[in-house]
């Protein structure tokens, strides 16, 4: 592979190993003298642990050791933390109840960890766990979100009265109320944003080693951010000094947010490896993933939109209850607040907005960031109510959006909910999407469908997202416990090949290709001479990891900054070699040249001279190895419009997606092939939320009813169509690549696009306000046939 440029459809460097079965995921690792862990989990949503008898289990074949919550408490292992402090409307920090790595006296959701069995084989550990006798006193559980804040509801934590974690607000309530008083039209909407299970195809897994000689720990884990895992485990949970803990996230099979967080299992494995002095490995079974991977979404919302007679939005108010589950996951508090309410302006000039969010504990699996994290929830509210308003006011829904778009010359644009949008141009995106979707022809297609007894509908969703997370000072002022910069190291070898060490982590996004691609373009080095190294805290200087569509805008920018330092140093070397002034050196296509002459030194020659500095500037350090940290000055603001067309069979309630268009503005695009893949995948996760997926609990027992692939409807190939994609490009003005991020857009916009289409179809029979996600055949049929 030779030199490549930004913008080319470069095929992925990582594919060969994945296609030949040579990937190395955590469960593939073969460690010496390894033991296996099995976690005994609570079958109850809420119970006191009266007694645990492990004697029979301890005598079971192959058992090495059993730990219970009591052992963990006695060893004073720290609890798991929530890394973002949200202050409520009175300025008080959120309630932060203890989250022990294993429950000592009370279990709070089905799947809560109760005991850890370590044995010579995984089967022996599981066999032994079945012999543990736990005496539970089953207590009433609060499962339903809408009722969680009822004063009579069963309490999840004694130190969070009324199950309230925080009552938070954003925006100017008085101004909003005043605007509503003057409105020509008010649209009201109640919505449920259904709970989802992330379901990365690789289940979570971990393996921990302890080296008695050095006292060093190594944790292999399915993580999107190994340095953050190390920081949290070191500083807050286990007390292992940061330099004595190495965290490695090798090939990771998808994350979608669920692998950002620090979970009980890797915590226990690391701790126990030190206790027993042997390696321990654990891989979740899928049913454990369903019960214990942090879930996503789960809001109940009432929203009201005020408009003038011409359909111009005057004000917006939103009241949301957000489910946090039984414990606070690592970033749970930020998702329904700063990643949600700040996006409620959407693409519109809404002058005033007020949002109140009450976050509740329930006896369910913890809820945290899942692809989009807060932004899909915001987009679903905004885009559902805008379409409803259009229907009520008899204005075409695309037209109503157009009347309210922020104009292209209004950027930077300050919204009433804290964010300053940096760039965008929304109307051409809508135009392109309408053309690709043949929006103009919908009436004829509706008529044709009607003639064969079907209901056609079309749905528009214009989304905005804030990603490239995030300026450290901004998130710090909002309560984040970390800075959200990224690091990069460009390390040349004397022979001229290059390692890019990045703090971003690739678990499907193709960084090994796109990061190499931007450096190949920038430094003029062939792709096959560049290796991207990620996921190992002992190799990469530091990293904040991959989430919030930040890898390219933040991680990629750090790489560009390091490349600039390489060029700057190379110029000094080249100037010396060519006996020219540094100011006269230019760098083009991998070569340093003296302006106005034919003198040239290839980068490789400068690199060699830096490592073999026989003829070298006296005041310059040898070596060609540069570090950079990049802290963004703003979020990035990808935007776009999706248009979905559905055909509903009123006899069966089946919704068939007959056309799906997505036009996005991701700023500059490095690798269109990879970007398209991200959009496709995101859309299907959004379609899944809209039509198929639901984490459904039995409201009495707290059992996750949809707890396996037999019950939880994952989108399959025949549930979805192929997609039509388009792009508009307004480069991001504040990062060196001009990129905005593309990882979450599909999932952010698709639920509203699909549901607006379903509602449009159901409007023909007056059923448009009787349907919630997921719009399963049963629900659609019931909506049509409700009397």
């Amino acid at each position: 592979m030779g030199n490549v440029k930004i913008g080319e459809r470069v095929q992925r460097k990582e594919d060969r190993r994945f296609l030949t079965g040579s990937g190395r995921y955590v469960d593939d690792l073969q460690l010496a003298r390894v033991t296996y862990a099995y976690f005994l989990r609570s079958p109850h949503a809420h119970a006191k642990i009266r007694k645990i008898d492990t004697s029979k289990a301890a005598a079971s074949v192959g058992v090495v050791q059993i730990f219970t919550g009591k052992d963990v408490a006695e060893a004073k292992v720290g609890g798991l933390i929530c890394g973002w402090v949200v202050k409520d409307k009175h300025g008080n920090p959120h309630k932060a109840p203890a989250h022990p790595a294993m429950a000592a006296d009370t279990v709070r959701h089905v799947g809560d960890t109760v005991a850890m069995v370590i044995a010579a084989t995984a089967d022996q550990a599981r066999d032994a766990a079945e012999k543990i006798e736990v005496d539970y006193e089953v207590l009433p559980a609060q499962i339903n979100l809408a009722g969680a804040l009822d004063p009579k509801a069963p309490q999840v934590h004694a130190d969070a009265p009324g199950n309230l974690c925080y009552d938070w607000e954003l925006g100017d309530k008085a101004a909003v109320d005043a605007a509503f008083a003057k409105a020509a039209h008010v649209t009201k909407l109640d919505l449920v944003n259904n709970r989802l299970v992330p379901n990365a195809m690789e289940p979570r897994a971990a393996a921990a080693e302890y080296d008695r000689g050095t006292g060093n720990y190594t944790l292999y884990t399915t993580s999107q951010n190994p340095h953050v895992a190390r920081l949290v485990l070191s500083a807050f949970v286990l007390g292992i000094p940061e330099h004595k803990l190495r965290v490695i996230a090798p090939d990771v099979g998808g994350g979608f947010g669920s692998k950002i967080f620090i979970y009980p299992e890797e915590t226990m494995l690391t701790w126990a490896a030190g206790k027993i002095g042997r390696s321990i490995k654990w891989t979740a079974e899928r049913s454990e993933s369903f019960m214990t991977d942090a879930h996503g979404r789960d809001h109940v919302t009432h929203a009201e939109l005020a408009l003038d007679a011409k359909g111009k939005i005057l004000a917006f108010k939103v009241d949301t209850i957000a489910n946090l589950g039984a414990y606070l996951s690592t970033f749970a508090t930020a998702v329904p607040t700063y990643l949600y309410a700040t996006l409620l302006a959407g693409q519109y000039t809404t002058p005033v907005i007020y949002c109140n969010v009450r976050a509740a504990f329930t006896h369910t699996t913890p809820v945290d960031a899942y692809r989009g994290a807060g932004r899909p929830e915001a987009t679903y509210v905004v885009e559902s109510i805008v379409s409803k308003a259009a229907r009520e006011m008899k204005i075409d829904s695309a037209e109503l959006r157009r009347r309210n778009y922020i104009a292209k010359d209004a950027f930077p644009y300050q919204t009433p909910v804290a964010l300053t949008y940096d760039s965008g141009n929304y109307a051409p995106i809508l135009d392109q999407a309408m053309k690709l979707a043949d929006y103009a022809g919908i009436d004829a297609r509706k008529a044709a469908a009607k003639a064969k007894g079907k209901l056609r509908g079309i749905g528009v969703c214009s989304y905005i997202e804030a990603c490239g997370i995030a300026p450290s000072a901004v998130v710090g002022s909002l309560g984040a416990g970390v800075g959200l910069w990224e690091s990069a190291q460009l390390k040349f070898n004397p022979t001229g090949n290059l390692q890019i060490l990045t703090g971003s982590h690739s678990h499907g996004q193709g960084h090994e290709t796109t990061f190499a691609q931007i450096v190949s373009d920038k430094l003029g080095i062939p792709l096959d001479q560049i290796e991207v190294v990620h996921g190992d805290t002992d190799k990469v200087p530091f990293g904040m990891g991959t989430y919030g569509s930040r890898s390219l805008p933040v991680g990629g920018s750090a790489i560009m900054k390091a490349a600039d330092k390489i060029i700057a140093k190379g110029k000094k070397v080249a100037a010396h070699l060519m006996e020219a002034a540094e100011a006269d050196i230019v760098f083009e296509n991998g070569t340093f040249k003296v302006t106005g002459t034919d003198k040239a030194v290839p980068l490789g020659q400068a690199v060699f001279a830096a490592y073999v500095p026989h003829n070298y500037p006296a005041d310059l350090e040898p070596g060609m190895d540069e570090n950079a940290f990049y802290d963004p000055s703003n979020f990035t603001y990808p935007s776009g419009t999706q248009i979905c067309e559905v055909e509903v069979d009123p006899d069966t309630g089946v919704v068939d997606i007959v056309n799906f268009v997505a036009v996005d503005d991701f700023g500059n695009i490095v690798n269109p092939m990879v970007v398209e893949g991200q959009v496709h995948g995101g859309i299907v996760q959004g379609v899944g939320q809209a039509l198929l997926e639901n984490a459904a609990y039995d409201e009495k027992t707290g059992q996750l009813i949809s707890g396996s692939y037999m019950d939880y409807t994952m989108p399959r190939a025949d549930d979805v169509p192929s997609f039509k994609l388009g792009y508009e490009v307004t480069p991001c003005p504040h990062n060196p690549l001009g990129v905005k991020g593309c990882g979450e857009a599909g999932a952010i916009a698709a639920p509203a696009a699909v549901m607006n289409a379903v509602r449009d179809a159901l409007a023909a029979v007056g059923a448009q306000d009787r349907i919630e996600m997921p719009a399963t055949p049963q629900r659609v049929w019931a909506a049509i046939n409700a009397h």
């Binding site: 994945f18 030949t20 079965g21 195809m201 399959r716 025949d718």
Partner: protein, 161 residues
């Protein structure tokens, strides 16, 4: 109680002593150290573990190792003629970006080859989408997998494999 089992995996004779409950996928991964075949669920739904047993695709989590006694098993590791020369279906997945995280990929490729052969190379988008209902992918949205398999079918036909 352990039982002895012998079979051919990717053209090589292999044998081992396994517990009766050992699944074929466990035998491949844990006894033979062939970790290309993945386990993504516990209900035989996801298809990450698909291998070929005597030329037919099988979910290796639904078959006991001892049931494969005497069989010819092909896994993802046995498809490519050499590290440089991929099977046409593998190559089609690479060219069409039919994979992202790579976890479902071995099962997808193994299923795809069997699907194409069962239809004597004459596959359509509809056949491919329906034929993949036993394989889950969370990354790609299937769009590029379908594209890969349609291209791979043509390439397999042209290569006569």
């Amino acid at each position: 109680m352990t039982m002895s089992v012998a079979m051919t995996v990717n053209g090589k004779a292999v044998s081992g002593n396994v517990e009766a409950r050992t699944l074929l996928v466990q035998f491949l991964r844990e006894h033979l150290g062939m970790t290309g075949t993945h386990v993504g669920c516990d209900t035989s739904q996801c298809g990450a573990c698909v291998v070929h047993v005597d030329g037919v695709s099988v979910k290796a989590c639904t078959m006991l190792a001892v049931q494969a006694e005497g069989s010819k098993v092909t896994t993802i590791e046995g498809l490519a003629a050499s590290p440089e020369k991929l099977h046409p279906m593998q190559e089609a997945f690479r060219e069409n970006h039919g994979l992202q995280c790579g976890f479902c990929t071995p099962g997808m490729v193994m299923s795809a080859i069997d699907l194409v052969k069962r239809h004597n190379y004459a596959v359509t988008e509809e056949i491919v989408r329906h034929g993949l209902e036993g394989n889950l992918c969370r990354c790609t949205g299937y769009h590029n997998i379908v594209k890969s398999i349609l291209a791979g079918a043509q390439a397999m036909k042209a290569a006569g494999v």
